[in-house]
């Protein structure tokens, strides 16, 4: 195989960032579950940090396997993997173990698996394969619909669990297809919907109608006053208002109260559900906010040690870091993620095959969405939806799936020149 695909082609900078992130994560998991009175070792297997070390060890085995296995199988196995995970998402609805009101997990003895995690991987592969196959053009409506079906097929099943957080992640594939020429109008529609949705939650319906109508009038005055333009604007305005009504109804009547509170508490942090949603979010904000510039020091976080923040080694791991290491610690973490994401984009752009590039963008998108939603939710900028911080949060499923996704990318990248010769 000559030099092509050799270990020398491995992107060591990404590997380094990966190793730094999982190590920092491991220490923070130790801090999050540290108990002064017990003073257990970081290696103690009864603690989350000890278990995380097992997950890290097995992840390294996974990496070795990924680097050995032929890079071509991912493209060929993509449809089968996708179907397997769709079936698993169906199966979990029947056989899954219900925790926190959602059937998201298989439980086999002590071992737990969340199929949604690796469904992202399978979806990324299938999407990449589909986009790179001949005859697919995003100017073509049929291709658009097919792509959307691949991306959002699993979302329907995941919402049945229901697991809003995981479902949201699938919207990250929009970044990958956008890069490949997907019409931006979809993004605009999505963005508008999001804005109107937020407005519906915090503003009375009358205000929204006035704002939307005003925007429509200004739009018509600024562009052309042709009948066609006016008509289209009228339809858009009417559908926006209709959407606001529908969204408002769904929010007030369909959404379970605890989820509604998780959203409302972002806008009204001190008045909504002070015992539960409000309490948790406030405690997380107190933990982060009390960190100051340099933090309280490793294992010195009073919020962390006092157990004030729920799910602290998993979804709220960022609050531990922010409390004990302050803004500078947060800066380091955010910089690491920015470097990782930039590096993945650079890798994506150097791919000669479209499959590799789409896959790379998908991975960047997934990591970016996890990172954004997770940190936003611990700071009270986004509803608490239960999404882990990649490479950092405690948990085998999460660490494995991110490791697999990232190292499959690196494996494919090692062979980027080979792909060129094959084509």
């Amino acid at each position: 195989m000559r030099n092509e695909g050799g270990i020398g082609n491995l992107d060591w900078s990404v590997v380094l960032i990966y190793l730094v992130l999982i190590t920092l994560g491991w220490f923070n998991i130790f801090a999050a579950t540290y108990d002064d009175s017990a003073a257990r070792s970081i290696f103690d297997l009864t603690t989350n940090s000890g278990k995380q070390l097992l997950w890290i060890g097995t992840s390294l085995v996974l990496i070795a396997i990924i680097l050995i296995v032929d890079f071509r199988i991912y493209e060929s196995l993509a449809p089968i993997l996708y179907i397997i995970f769709i079936l698993m998402l169906m199966a979990v609805l029947v056989f899954g173990k219900e925790t926190n009101g959602a059937k998201a997990w298989f439980e086999l003895g002590a071992f737990r698996l969340q199929p949604a995690e690796l469904t992202k991987f399978a979806t990324a592969l299938l999407l990449a394969r589909f986009v790179s196959s001949s005859g697919v053009k995003f100017s073509d409506f049929k291709s658009q619909v097919k792509a959307l079906a691949i991306m959002f097929g699993p979302v329907a099943l995941i919402m049945l669990q229901p697991d809003l957080g995981s479902a949201l992640i699938f919207f990250s594939f929009m970044l990958a297809v956008f890069r490949e020429g997907f019409p931006p109008v979809y993004l605009l529609v999505g963005l508008s919907a999001a804005i109107i949705g937020v407005m519906t939650i915090i503003l009375p319906i009358e205000t929204i109608i006035i704002v939307v109508v005003a925007v429509g009038i200004v739009w018509v005055l600024l562009t052309s006053r042709s009948v066609k333009n006016i008509l289209i604007t009228l339809i858009l305005v009417a559908s926006s208002i209709g959407f606001s009504f529908g969204f408002g109804y769904a929010f007030d009547e369909v959404l379970p109260e605890y989820q509604r509170n998780r959203i409302l508490v972002i806008f009204y942090p001190d008045s909504i559900d002070p015992q539960n949603a409000g309490f948790n979010l406030n405690q997380s904000k107190i933990a982060i906010g009390s960190g100051g510039l340099t933090g309280k020091g490793f294992l010195e976080g009073t919020q962390t040690k006092g157990g004030f923040v729920p799910e602290q080694s998993t979804d709220f791991i960022f609050s531990t870091l922010a409390e004990e290491h302050g803004w500078l610690g947060s800066l380091i973490l955010i910089t690491l993620f920015m470097l990782l994401l930039s590096r993945i984009l650079a890798i994506a752009e150097r791919q000669k095959s479209q499959f590799s590039r789409v896959y790379a963008y998908s991975i960047a998108g997934i990591i970016f969405f996890h990172f954004t939603i997770n940190i936003a939710m611990t700071m009270g900028l986004f509803p608490v939806v239960g999404i882990p911080l990649p490479f950092f949060s405690y948990g085998g499923s999460s660490l494995w799936s991110f490791t697999i996704m990232l190292f499959v990318l690196l494996k494919v990248d090692m062979h980027r020149t080979q792909i060129l010769t094959r084509n």
Partner: protein, 617 residues
């Protein structure tokens, strides 16, 4: 073309990163409310109460000490009791009370301690201590209460109690917190800053359930409590006990001072109360009872009761006259006309004889010479000028204002001056003859027992006094700090004092012949304070004295209310107290049993016979 979309995506990533960093900077660095909220969350402050200073008498005998008491605390969620009935028996509470207390504690907090049973005494605790161990969720929190080695000095030592909102508002040092105990009266109040020490605090880390998780910031903020300083008082415990014993069942007061130092050897106000009753669990109940008592047990007569001084004031008149130079000690003044009612015969008197016989007309002349010195041809104007001269001179002897003793509540008494009479009579319409009853200590004059004792000290010292005080120093860990006191000179000279002292010595023999100490000569002056209360016809018995006459060790004033003639009740009491101090014991050898006479209030028989011998002086 599509390649450019890479930059849009890259830009989105960086935008989110920057937004996060800015938002985090605001949250973590610029906004410090979260810091306080985190502290409030996780910090539990446990107060360590300082050890209150002890109080000793002049011979290093303990007067006041601290006794541990216990609050039984409960943490509801930890409670495990196998046999509730046994538990209730142990604490001597009913089953209903048990349920009620547990419920109240649960209502407060399931995981935080709250008091279950407060102020369990040391002995009670010792009985239940061993068994208490078996009951989970309960623990004893030790505190201290004041205890007194004898039931004496109640009004002088005072009591401590919970700080009032009013006191909290006035506390500029911000030291006190609601629920703190503070000295409320007496020495406990006056020396509160010395006695209390400094409170310490331990900060514990608590978790979301309120359970302690170790030491906050490794104890960096912790402070240890600093014990208060001990008071070294001037009180002679044995003398105090004896004096209080003599006054049992009587109303009145005794103030005994060591003249050379101003140290108060004994201070009795009777009736009083058992200081142990205003300490510990029964404080509020007992306080209500004591305060409601018609005998005014919380009223410290020694410093608060005001009486007309009566004949003892003649010594002051003589001193004022001598100091002003209007009379000489050996000068014979002949009174031919009775200007004022008198028991002594008219005739020729000098200072010594005047005091010995308590001649009203002699002192009428003495005071007249002080007041009317011919500063103005108009008699009224001259009297007005003279009255102020006289009042100023009298005040120098410690009358008319508090002496400044180291407990609160001291009454100033009253020395009337020109302004005082201007308010009663039209200006320039009163002259010496209007106010002449002052010359024998009657009229508007009011003095307190401590002022009279101080007068005895001035005379015994031949011309100076030291502010009477109850505390002479502080002690802590063996280090003693004594308070400095200055001599105060009420007059310009002292050469005329022997004449006064001689007069008093003779007066004591004459008017208080039963009040003698075997082998020791005393100088004394009886007085009778007219009773202001209409229905009570019997006057108060007053005696002022010091002994030994030539080398005074103790100066004293004794007031026994409604006991009649000064030479009996007060005089004999004074002789006993002085003898006890000087000799350490009472000589019972004489035919007259002084102690028994006082204890049984036999002087009342003499009074009831009906002023057989109208000898008020």
């Amino acid at each position: 073309m599509l390649q450019n979309r890479r930059y849009i995506i890259q830009g989105l990533f960086i935008l989110i990163g920057v937004v996060f960093l800015v938002k985090l900077f605001a949250l973590q660095v610029t906004d410090d409310t979260y810091k306080f909220r985190a502290e409030r969350n996780s910090r539990l402050r446990i107060v360590e109460f300082p050890f209150r200073g002890l109080i000793y008498d002049r011979n290093n005998e303990l007067l006041v000490y601290n006794e541990p008491i216990y609050d039984l605390m409960v943490i509801p969620q930890d409670v495990f009791i196998e046999d509730t009935t046994r538990f209730c028996q142990l604490l001597n509470i009913s089953h209903e009370a048990f349920e009620e207390k547990i419920w109240a504690a649960k209502k407060y907090h399931r995981a935080k301690p709250s008091p279950f049973l407060k102020k369990i005494s040391h002995t009670e605790y010792a009985e239940i201590q061993d068994e208490l161990y078996a009951y989970k969720g309960f623990y004893a929190n030790p505190r201290t209460v004041r205890r007194y080695s004898s039931s004496i000095l109640a009004n002088e030592v005072g009591y401590i109690g919970e700080i009032s909102q009013n006191q909290l508002d006035r506390d500029t040092t911000s030291y006190y917190r609601s629920g703190d105990h503070i000295g409320l009266t007496g020495l406990e109040q006056y020396y509160e800053p010395e006695l209390r020490g400094e409170r310490g605090a331990k900060y514990k880390l608590i978790n979301v359930n309120g359970i302690q998780k170790g030491v906050y910031k490794n104890g960096a903020l912790d402070t240890t409590s600093i014990a208060g300083r001990n008071l070294i008082t001037t009180i002679d415990q044995e003398l105090q006990k004896y004096a209080e014993w003599l006054m049992e069942g009587k109303r009145g007061s005794i103030v005994a001072i060591e003249p050379s130092t101003g140290e108060i050897l004994a201070m009795v106000s009777s009736p009083s109360y058992d200081p142990n009753k205003l300490s510990g669990r029964e404080f509020s109940n007992n306080y209500k009872l004591i305060a409601a008592d018609t005998n005014k047990r919380l009223f410290n007569r020694a410093i608060m009761a005001k009486y007309p001084p009566g004949s003892i004031f003649k010594t002051v008149q003589a001193l004022v006259g001598l100091d002003a130079g209007v009379i000489r000690a050996d000068e014979q003044i002949v009174s031919k006309v009775e200007r004022i009612g008198d028991h002594a015969a008219l005739g020729s008197y000098d200072v010594t004889k005047g005091i010995e016989w308590s001649s009203n007309n002699y002192f009428h002349e003495v005071m007249r010479r002080v007041v009317n010195q011919g500063d103005d041809p108009n008699l009224f104007k001259d009297s007005r000028i003279g009255m102020d001269r006289w009042a100023d001179a009298v005040r120098k002897f410690g009358f008319g204002s508090p002496l400044g003793i180291d407990i609160a509540g001291e009454e100033p008494g009253l020395v009337p001056d020109a302004d005082y009479y201007d308010a009663i009579y039209p200006k320039h319409s009163w002259a010496y003859s209007t106010v002449q009853s002052l010359c024998i200590g009657q009229g508007e004059l009011l003095v307190t027992p401590i002022q009279v004792a101080n007068l005895a000290a001035i005379i015994s010292n031949q011309g100076y006094y030291i502010k009477p005080h109850l505390v002479k120093g502080f002690e802590k860990d063996g280090a003693v700090e004594m308070i400095d006191f200055e001599k105060i000179y009420p007059g310009k000279g002292n050469e005329y004092y022997p004449a006064i002292i001689e007069g008093m010595a003779r007066a004591a023999k004459r008017t208080a012949s039963l009040a003698k100490i075997p082998g020791i000569e005393i100088a004394g002056k009886t007085g009778t304070a007219e009773n202001g209360i209409k229905d009570e016809t019997i006057d108060h018995s007053v005696f002022m004295a010091f002994a030994p006459k030539d080398n005074p060790k103790i100066a004293i004033s004794v007031y026994v209310e409604n006991a009649g003639w000064g030479g009996l009740a007060s005089g004999i009491t004074a002789s006993l107290v002085m003898e006890k101090f000087i000799k350490g014991e009472i000589d019972h050898s004489g035919w007259f049993k002084r102690e028994e006479y006082i204890r049984k209030s036999e002087y009342l028989k003499a009074v009831q016979k009906g002023n057989e011998e109208e000898q008020d002086n």
